[in-house]
Amino acid sequence: MVSPAENSSATQSPPGDIVHAMRDDGSLSAEHDPGLSTQQVVDLYRHMVRTRIIDERLVTLQRQGRIGFHIGSLGEEAAIIGSSFAMGEQDWIFPCYREFGGALMRGFKLQSFIDNMFGNANDAAKGRQMPDHYTCREARWGSISSPIGTQMTQAVGFAWAAKIQKKSLACLVYFGDGSTSSAEFHNAMNFAGVFKTPSVFFCRNNGWAISVPVERQTASDTFAEKGVAYGVPSVRVDGNDLFAVIAVTRAAVQRARDGGGPTLIEALTYRMGGHSTSDDPNRYRARDELEPWVERDPIERVRRHLQAKGAWSDDQEEALRTEVDGQFREAVANAEKTPPPSLASMFEDVYAEQPWHLKEQCQQLLSGARAPKAH
């Protein structure tokens, strides 16, 4: 288990100390201050709050039976928003399944996200995938798969391709602590190391893989030190410190663009909620484990920072909540009015051109009786 206490004590393994930028009083240490303007910090704060409000509302929709599932990012907002922010417009991100807040910040439309949550006819993935498995090429953001780890090697290949074509970009891949046990992680790290691909491996170490704690994923002291074996420089960062996350991710992106190859970032954070709406964490972890993390809530920390500077007021907070609530309600209303995808759409995109057997099967479906609605 990662405890916040670890965050303040330096670990002397190869990746070195845990990078912090924020002090407890909300001020920034000069060494890791990413030098953001106050307006930038306010914007980032707004994205973090927006992410959390949307998360909460989606859980409610799931409980009401209006959507089938949600997998949220409660407690991981700084890690997600900070790292996505550090990526330039020309850069790409291969997501895991918990990072919708980053996608929204990079231009994924809230309406499109909510259409995916409902799997309706307007969903870019055409209602074919589960909620939170959206697709948004426009935001230079990959399409989401459930099988753990698959995006890691792909992200390396994507970065490698850009390198082969002498294009300057970095490609970041998100994954969890549990995912480091998959073969894909090891393949991805090895290839990235050998071919010095412009890759950023961003490990959200949130302490848990469903009910399995990090001690069951690795006997290493840290996930970051796995980089050493692959010749990939690595760093541990306080994942609940927005500024530190931005600083280390920016450095990794710079190294990638400069031809210095990949970096492994281990962001120490905590999954403050269940794994997903299907999970009850009280079955397997003590409630008091959460408390120290509540104190280090990544959103509260940025708010304290802004308030200390007089750059954020309770009125602004109130207005932000009202604004996001309104946008969310409108998107949900639209999504619920939108019909399901057409029956024929089920047979599209299997191949670029529809072969005879799919035409035949589509015809069979259309001319047959309709299925019962109930699940």
Binding site: Q129, M130, S146, P147, I148, R370
Partner: protein
Amino acid sequence: MTQMNMVQAINDALRLEMARDDRVVVLGEDVGKVGGVFRVTAGLHDEFGDDRVIDTPLSEGGIIGTAVGMALYGLVPVPEIQFSDFIWPAYDQIVSELAKYRYRSGGEYPCNMVIRTPVGGGIRGGHYHSQHPEASFIHHAGLKVVCPSNPYDAKGLLLASIRDPDPVLFFEPKRVYRAAKGDVPEGDYTVDLTKATVSREGSDVTVIAFGAMLYEALDAAVKAEEQGVDVEVIDLRTLWPLDIDTVIESVKKTGRLVVVHEAPKSCGFGGEIVSLVCEKAFYHLEAAPIRVTGWDTPFPYTLEMEYLPLSHRILPAVIEAAKA
């Protein structure tokens, strides 16, 4: 006898066999403390401890590869793959190693193990929590493939599978994990892995089904009866090796065959069953066999009920076969 659902029946079988045989170990993701994401292994960790009910790192290749090693040593591992959709990282270990060990070692290294995994759709799971991949395993010589439809069979078949000397893939139809309830004997019993069962006797059309789709076939049979068609429904229980005698006997009686499965049609298990019937009972057939299956597309999310071969699609196929 106690009323149990399938989750409880499988749990009961595991508990019973672990108590009876200390070589049996359970391993997988989330199978320990939390008792599995579907609660199938609930309570086993408390009862048998960390050495026998093991939460593993997140790696299906790791789980199955090490389970093969345990089996070579002489344990009887019963690994769980959380969803059959996540079995593919272990496919190499299953088809290149597990399936071939006995053969390639001239019988020196048998692998006695059972891979349990939930299968099937109808739970709002999309592509990656819904597939029914039997054909991909039947195609590799050396694996037995089982898929119970009810709690009684689930317990008896699992006990038989664990005691079987060959590797078994035990597919659990998650759509009926809790929906299918029935009387289950408390103690030890097995269900023969070589025998299908006739779930409903009839004389006009043979419908072959298994797992969750059995109930759809039975529902279609009731509706067909209203139209004067008398349907025989066979529950295969063990998919491979197939109980060919029960199938052929039924087709000889009815002369008409409908095969139902959730997996896509092309190169699906239904194709094999139809071919076998054509080879062995061609002159008894009075109508072309019909497959009612999932479509040849990835498993969809919103339209999953239109993808699955439910009663509303089985019924017209049965009527068509009867009228031909």
